[in-house]
């Protein structure tokens, strides 16, 4: 019950932060950081996978409503939610397999790898679907790389901030 409550609060909060604050960021004109994948990143590791997919779809489609972008956020968020176990295993190794993983006890390097993989995949799908044309490959590549850097930094900082307050 507590998990549902925490995640609903996070859901609303992340959407509001994304839409009302971060979408007004125009670093160098075209870089827009995204923080909302944090919800998927922070989901409990033993969550029911079907619930997880529906949650990811709902989160993405809400962003799409605000940004008038069709279904690109929904698609990108769905893919990272579906492939999350793979990334978790890659980043945290055995402790994930044995279900003994504590997110904040893991070394920073593992967390960094996990967050980076999730954000990079999310942004790659998001911007490929948004631009949707092979005429802009260089532009697409730039946008993915620069936006990912900012999003990863932002999410890692937020992760540390949440941890401090919940102690």
């Amino acid at each position: 019950m507590k998990t549902y409550f925490i995640n609903s609060i996070r859901f609303v909060l992340l959407i509001l932060v994304q839409v009302l604050i971060l979408n007004h960021f125009e670093i160098f004109g075209y870089i827009n950081p995204y923080i909302y994948p944090l919800l998927i990143i922070l989901l409990p590791f033993n969550i029911n996978s079907i619930q997880k997919l529906f949650l990811a779809f709902a989160l993405g489609i809400c962003l799409d409503f605000f940004e008038d972008s069709g279904g690109i956020h929904a698609a990108a968020t769905l893919v990272i939610a579906y492939l999350r176990p793979l990334f978790l295993r890659n980043a945290f190794g055995l402790s994930y397999d044995y279900q003994t993983l504590k997110f904040y006890d893991a070394p920073f390097k593992s967390r960094f790898v996990y967050v980076s993989l999730m954000v990079l995949l999310h942004h790659t799908i998001l911007f490929s679907l948004e631009i949707f044309s092979v005429n802009h490959l260089l532009y697409l590549f730039e946008k993915i790389v620069y936006s990912s850097i900012f999003s990863i930094i932002l999410i890692l900082i937020t992760l540390n901030l949440i941890r401090k307050t919940s102690k």
């Binding site: 839409v19 125009e26 079907i50 799409d64 940004e67 972008s69 769905l78």
Partner: protein, 274 residues
């Protein structure tokens, strides 16, 4: 049968993923074709009100510049009005545009504005209640903004000129050679005007306005000036970069324009439709 059900239960995660992914991709592909992207739209009650509240707070930070823009516009309109002195003999034809209300104009404010994507949309206040309809033009005091695409009770979604799906008829102010105005998705200040014939006298610094072949915008609404051009020798058409008068990144007060004769003209152009 049992095997099928067992298979379904075993792979339920994958199946849910595929179903949801199909919906998401379907919406994405629809959104990439103009006039089909109406399923997921910010012109609804919840998103409209959230964005309006946020805009209501942040608009205070832009009051000074917005006031200057409005004062500038007032100055231009005053000048025009004073020059229409009633003593002149040519009064009648000049007043034509006042007595003959071909265009209905309505003010509105921008609620949300995107300009950093490939396909951008704006959300403006006013919807069905304010008799705003689809396919009306939206302009600001300095130039064109976009075309209304989707209307709810209180909000309207505008397909921005900064959208790779828009194409607007535009012409050279001097000679009336016309072409199509499109956006390549990169710089929010530069649009490109294509299909201008070789015979047109193109020069850097010339003004581009809307053309009269559009049923949406009035003729001679300013758009921008030519910043550079090149002639495509293979097809014999110019490819012109147009620098906008309008700052698309800083919009607040806009006007919705309705051509009251549009339906009449449309019927004449498409007689076979009922």
């Amino acid at each position: 049968m049992q095997q099928i059900i067992l298979f379904l239960i075993k792979n339920k995660t994958g199946l849910v993923f595929i179903i949801l992914m199909t919906i998401a991709l379907g919406l994405t592909f629809k959104a990439h074709t103009y006039h089909n992207s109406k399923v997921v739209s910010s012109a609804n009650f919840v998103t409209g009100n959230v964005l309006e509240t946020s805009e209501g707070i942040s608009q205070y930070f832009g009051l000074k510049t917005q006031n200057e823009i409005l004062a500038e516009e007032n100055e231009v309109l005053r000048k025009k009005l004073l020059n229409l002195s009633p003593s002149e003999d040519t009064l009648e034809p000049k007043l034509d545009f006042i007595t003959d209300t071909l265009y209905r104009i309505q003010k509105s404010t921008v609620v949300s504005n995107y300009y950093d994507k490939i396909d951008n949309f704006l959300l403006i206040k006013g919807g069905v209640k304010d008799s705003i309809k689809e396919d009306l033009g939206v302009i600001s005091s300095k130039g064109i903004v976009g075309i209304i695409e989707n209307v709810s009770q209180e909000f309207s979604r505008v397909i921005s000129i900064l959208n790779t799906n828009t194409s607007i008829n535009a012409q050279l102010k001097k000679t009336n050679h016309f072409g199509t105005l499109t956006w390549d998705g990169k710089n929010p200040n530069i649009l490109s005007l294509v299909d201008v014939p070789r015979s047109a006298p193109v020069k850097v610094g010339d003004t581009i306005t809307t053309g009269g072949r559009s049923l949406i915008f009035p003729e001679n609404v300013p758009i921008g000036i030519i910043s550079k051009y090149e002639l495509d020798e293979n097809v014999g058409y110019y490819n012109i970069s147009v620098k906008l008068f309008n700052d698309m990144t800083n919009l607040k007060h806009v006007y919705v324009i309705e051509n009251t004769r549009r339906e009449e003209a449309y019927k004449l152009l498409n007689p076979e439709q009922p």
